[in-house]
Symmetry: C2
Subunit: 174 residues, 2 copies
């Protein structure tokens, strides 16, 4: 049921998530879905909550390698057109409907979690400007990948992780 919802969300987009369609693909009766999720938003939230996988947390003992591993790990997510479309649709839906803001927030937190760990460890080692808040740091760590994937998705392959990490470090270091 939630699996079918997540599948539709991924393949056909958020507008294709209807009670009828979920019933069709999941093999569950439409009435049953209504009994569990009286509103479409609840169904969406539950489906997204149940399908958020947290990426691995690298621990190499130094910031540079951790960042490289992290960017490498999440790069495939940006290369996937359907996945990118789904994320964009979810964020757009959250921007339009306050009810879905928590959904988006949880989704982001799951994706950002590992980065937070990396960041804290590096800060303890003195590799990061002590005045730099982690929110501001994320802007520059995820920024390049996101911008690249949004504005120039076809040039995403050209992005050199090593060089990008160098540039990120310019911003983060004390």
């Amino acid at each position: 049921m939630l699996r079918a919802t997540a599948d539709i969300l991924y393949r056909d987009g958020i507008h294709a998530v209807t009670y009828d369609e979920v019933a069709r693909r999941s093999g569950v009766a439409k009435t049953t879905i209504y009994r569990h999720f009286p509103s479409r938003n609840q169904l969406l939230v539950a489906a997204v909550d149940g399908s958020t996988a947290t990426p691995l947390i690298p621990d190499n003992g130094n910031l540079r390698d951790d960042l490289r591993d992290f960017l490498r790990a999440i790069l495939p997510m940006f290369l996937n057109d359907d996945l990118r479309a789904m994320s964009l649709e979810l964020m757009a839906a959250a921007a339009r409907d306050p009810e879905l803001q928590d959904l988006h927030r949880a989704n982001v937190r799951a994706r950002i979690g590992p980065l937070s760990t990396i960041f804290k460890r590096a800060k303890d080692r003195g590799e990061i400007d002590p005045d730099l808040a982690y929110v501001d740091a994320f802007d520059f760590i995820e920024g390049p990948l996101i911008v690249r994937s949004l504005l120039y998705p076809d040039k995403l392959d050209d992005l050199d992780i090593e060089i990008t990490v160098d540039r990120i470090l310019r911003v983060l270091s004390p």
Copy 2:
């Protein structure tokens, strides 16, 4: 007609753009819309093309001030929930439908144009690492704003433009 389409796109989202709805709001007969735009995609492309405004191009003679002015100029666009939602929906649509990729590309080019001018002038003045491609530079210039608006839209106000420019310059300078 195109104005009505752009308006729907902005207010209610891309899913709300239907022939019936455009006819209703524009006062134009549905058949007439079909005569001009046989497919919905053509209508979308025309509407977006006709409503892309290019921001001002600052020219202060130095990169720092130009960047500051530019970021200040585009910040309000990110603060607008509907506008952000619309952009996200357009990008999502482009990711799903190849026919709409040009639409997105044109939209991006209009928004990025001024940045390109700023970038070239700064490079001529020697304020930018000569090995740095402009595509890579954009990742770090627009990145912070975009990431902030996507992941933490409620903390967008906290973003200090001056400090952000400082950090961007760390990446761009030779």
